[in-house]
Subunit: 166 residues, 2 copies
Amino acid sequence: MDKVQFTIMTNSRHITGSDIPWYPDGMSDLLERLRTRGWRLTAQRRVVAEVLDGDHVHLTADEVHARAARLLPEISRATVYNTLGELVTLGEVLEVSTDGRARRYDPNAHHAHQHLVCSHCGTIRDVHPVGDPLAALPAGERFGFTVSDVEVTYRGTCPDCSATAA
Amino acid sequence: MDKVQFTIMTNSRHITGSDIPWYPDGMSDLLERLRTRGWRLTAQRRVVAEVLDGDHVHLTADEVHARAARLLPEISRATVYNTLGELVTLGEVLEVSTDGRARRYDPNAHHAHQHLVCSHCGTIRDVHPVGDPLAALPAGERFGFTVSDVEVTYRGTCPDCSATAA
DNA sequence: ATAGTGAATTGGACTTTGTCCATGTCGTGG
DNA sequence: CCACGACATGGACAAAGTCCAATTCACTAT
């Protein structure tokens, strides 16, 4: 996130997506979409959205907060947690819990994909398995549940960790 | 875990599996197996193993500690965490992180299965999908990882929660 | 049966991750 | 440009897990 250094304008000035021309298209779309859903557009939310859109890595809430704070130093942890929670509820961001530690947030919510995580260093990669994992669960194995979603986590050792271990 | 009330004997007496005849077969097997692997058989480890073997639910570490403490009141949380970690390392117990909160421990490590969790109440059921989920990840999608395991979590609403929501 | 020794246990401090709430600020519709 | 209600703040709190020095104890060899 070293690509552009800038400071968000004061909140009292009305900022629209077009005021910040270096936003990637996907994000102004996102912000616009949320605004029409009644989302109030605050500097904090804008910055959180930008951080998520930045690198397509899977950040923890604290990492999001750290990066957001570089753009908007006074942003609070609580706000980051709130905003992430809202984005998840709105279906714009996925929450993945791969290790029982910090939840990670995946901005790539609109393309079906699964995760490949390194048991050593924790890195996560998006992967695209073939076939629909939901289809693998026959009705007789659903116990009356209404199944709405599958989360598949492949675990293994990434190339870097294999190299250092050897 | 109300079925049998008893107190573990003092550690200084040598206790073998056969001293505690009401252990289910599976467990004395487990303990014996671990002992031949060089595991020191302490009262604490014994109790943790018994708790896991008790109901085949998916307990959190704290739940394991609470149940273990009914049998061995002075057992410490650290020991429970240690023991669970060892059992996981030894491959006798599976660790599942379904909700980004507490990790849960699944004693059913020797039969391949996956999990079905209710998004409302958090209940977990073991399910057996058809086919091998590992096979769904083509080599081209592995990015040099050595993939060793897959964890599949189906999410949905259980019958009880569907009923109360309606 | 007993002693020695290194592994296991203890409990308490500490860290990480996340939630809650009262107060104050600011985005937005009018 | 005002008012109002949604949003942000930060600090206290809670939950989940780790770490460590001191102590206890299981196992092996005698």
